[in-house]
């Protein structure tokens, strides 16, 4: 059987990829996808840990994350759309109406 640490490492790697994507990429859609990668990395970690611990809490948590993630996706895409309608861009750098 594959040891749990493999899953954890994979989860960590995915999470890091997600973080890097958010930090590096400037396209709003890609940033948003990177955030989804982060959430799914967490899901993988939770499932793996839940199985390793022999408790269902981890799996239950994943359902919640998926549900909330779906809600977040709906809201997020709507927000990106609204911003695109008013600004005609999906580049993060061009959303600069407010400056300190």
């Amino acid at each position: 059987m594959t040891p749990v640490s493999y899953y954890l490492v994979l989860g960590a790697a995915l999470f890091a990829i997600g973080v890097a994507g958010v930090v590096i990429r400037r396209n709003l859609i890609v940033i948003f996808m990177s955030i989804e990668v982060m959430l799914n990395a967490v899901n993988l970690t939770l499932v793996a840990l839940g199985r390793a611990l022999g408790s269902t809490d981890g799996q239950v948590m994943v359902f919640f994350v998926m549900t909330v993630g779906a809600a977040e996706a709906a809201v997020g895409l709507a927000l990106i759309l609204a911003a695109f309608r008013s600004r005609h861009t999906i580049k993060a750098d061009e959303l600069n109406l407010m400056r300190w």
């Binding site: 954890l8 989860g11 999470f15 997600g18 973080v19 958010v22 709003l28 940033i31 948003f32 955030i35 982060m38 959430l39 990395a41 967490v42 970690t45 939770l46 840990l49 390793a52 611990l53 408790s55 809490d57 981890g58 239950v60 948590m61 919640f64 994350v65 909330v68 809600a71 977040e72 809201v75 997020g76 709507a78 927000l79 990106i80 609204a82 911003a83 309608r85 008013s86 600004r87 993060a92 959303l95 109406l97 407010m98 300190w100």
Partner: protein, 501 residues
């Protein structure tokens, strides 16, 4: 009496979540009623929302003194929860009063607006009551997702959608961190219940495990975003500036109180065993948050943006209290949030009153000559600024005093000195607002006719800011009692923590 009749009608297991349930039901009612009404009836919807929140506050108040686990420990019902239920419901109700004017003036979709406000409130309440990691996550997200949309709800203002989008992206990003932290903590301790996690961490071997440390760090980052601690504050100024002003008020008081409610309970009540680990991190966060917030606030000409940085700075003072940990610190933070909430709500209420429809956003120049045209509004704003500055005998002063005392008692002398120096800096930008109103001349302009709701909100904020400061005893009692009940120590324990050696 009220609690009796309502309580009898409901099954006992629902009683602990009565307040959020009332808010949730109101949200559904608003959606149902709103779909039948035209936009011109938005004020009626507002009052429906308001009464739901008022009822929730009453339910929460009636529950003071009861301790009952609910839903197998997923929710904790104690005085701490009741304190935050009340605070959050009152804040949300005040925001409704601010919105009565604003929603029709900006032609915001009223049904969605009030329904979202209520669902955000449910999220805040859940976060304050959370007894396990799932509820922390759910509460946080219910609150955040609603507020993302509310920030972007003024669709005709491009700054509003930009604010919502930025808030959303960074908020979702931080949720990822928080979740990862939750997963790791769960993996290390084998439970999602805070109580069990706390017990598991009593063993020093586990407390030092890298899984726990990494999980803790991730959760600190996640909460750091939500409470707008530097360096996780990048979203704050834009989101505050671009969002419709009542929504900004909700973010500054409701979201902040709820986030601190969850954060405080997690760290101080359930993870004191790890204080050695998170204490240092919070020290740095507190120092950075105060200093950056105050220094950047100096340069602001937009009052909303200035209040955003001021909110960051105040998060820094609160973090000073949390760094200290212990009974007095917990009570001090609760008291601080109370005073901070009313002064901030009042300041935003004034901004709502002076804002122009065609050009939202208020600069210092827009406040020019306010003292001449609107002496009461100007005096109220001055009062709120003085309270935020921390001048006695207003609520802000006693809050600062309490937090400083708790931190000094825990031995954080230099952090408190830094906080004091920061307060000196803050004097400048708060005083600038006063100068703008009282000294500078401004073009005479007619303000929008005010509805009574806004005046009521202002009056409540003024009264609270003065009363909580002049006679702090009952509120200190409340804060200390609330924290004591969460931490499972006697009320005298909190008092003794301050008084005895």
């Amino acid at each position: 009496m009220i609690s009796g009749t309502i309580g009898a009608a409901l099954d006992a297991s629902w009683r602990p979540v009565l307040a959020p349930a009332v808010v949730a039901i109101t949200a559904m009612a608003v959606m149902l009623v709103g779909s039948r009404l035209g936009e011109e009836d938005s004020e009626g919807l507002g009052w429906l929302t308001f009464s739901g929140l008022a009822l929730a506050a009453l339910c929460a108040f009636a529950a003071v003194g009861r301790h009952a686990p609910a839903f197998a420990g997923a929710l904790i019902v104690d005085d701490y929860t009741a304190f935050f239920y009340c605070l959050i419901a009152v804040c949300a109700a005040m925001v409704v009063l601010l919105s009565l004017d604003y929603v029709p003036a900006l032609e915001l979709p009223s049904t969605e607006y009030y329904a979202l406000l209520l669902s955000a409130t449910v999220g805040m309440m859940l976060l304050a009551a959370a007894g396990d990691l799932i509820i922390i996550f759910l509460g946080l997200e219910t609150m955040s997702i609603s507020v993302y949309v509310m920030a972007a709800i003024a669709r005709r203002d491009p700054r509003s959608s930009e604010a919502g989008l930025k808030y959303f992206l960074l908020g979702a990003f931080s949720t990822g961190f928080l979740l990862y932290g939750i997963a790791l903590l769960y993996g290390a301790t084998g439970s999602i219940k805070l109580e069990a996690i706390s017990r598991a961490l009593q063993s020093s071997a586990l407390a030092a495990s890298p899984l726990v440390l990494l999980g803790l760090a991730m959760m600190l980052i996640g909460f750091g975003f939500k409470v707008a601690a530097v360096p996780f504050h990048a979203w704050t100024p834009d989101a505050y500036e671009g969002a419709p002003t009542p929504v900004t008020a909700l973010m500054a008081v409701g979201v902040k109180s709820a986030a601190f409610a969850g954060f405080l309970r997690l760290l101080l009540v359930y993870l004191p065993a790890l204080h050695a680990q998170w204490g240092g991190a919070l020290w740095v966060l507190a120092a950075l948050t105060m200093s950056v917030g105050n220094l950047v606030a100096l340069a602001q000409n937009n009052v909303k943006r200035m209040l955003a940085y001021s909110a960051i700075a105040h998060a820094g003072y609160i973090l000073v209290g949390m760094t200290a940990a212990g009974g007095a610190a917990g009570a001090a933070v609760l008291y601080y949030l109370l005073g901070y909430a009313f002064a901030n709500l009042g300041a935003f209420a004034v901004l709502v009153a002076v804002e122009r429809v065609e050009q939202p956003g208020t600069t210092l120049a827009d406040l020019g000559g306010l003292a001449k045209g609107q002496p009461m509004l100007a005096a109220a704003m001055a009062l709120f600024m003085l309270s935020l500055m921390g001048l006695p005998p207003l609520a802000g002063f006693v809050g600062k005093f309490y937090v400083f005392s708790a931190a000094l008692q825990a031995g954080y002398v230099w952090l408190v000195v830094l906080a004091a120096l920061n307060s000196v800096i803050s004097t400048y930008y708060y005083a600038r607002v006063i100068v703008a109103m009282y000294v500078n001349e401004g073009a005479e302009r007619k303000l929008r006719a005010r509805r009574p709701g806004l005046s009521v909100a202002l009056a409540v904020a003024i009264a609270a800011t003065i009363i909580i400061g002049v006679d702090p005893r009952p509120y200190v009692e409340m804060a200390a009692g609330a924290y004591a009940s969460a931490a499972g120590i006697a009320r005298s324990g909190v008092r003794a923590a301050f008084l005895a050696h």
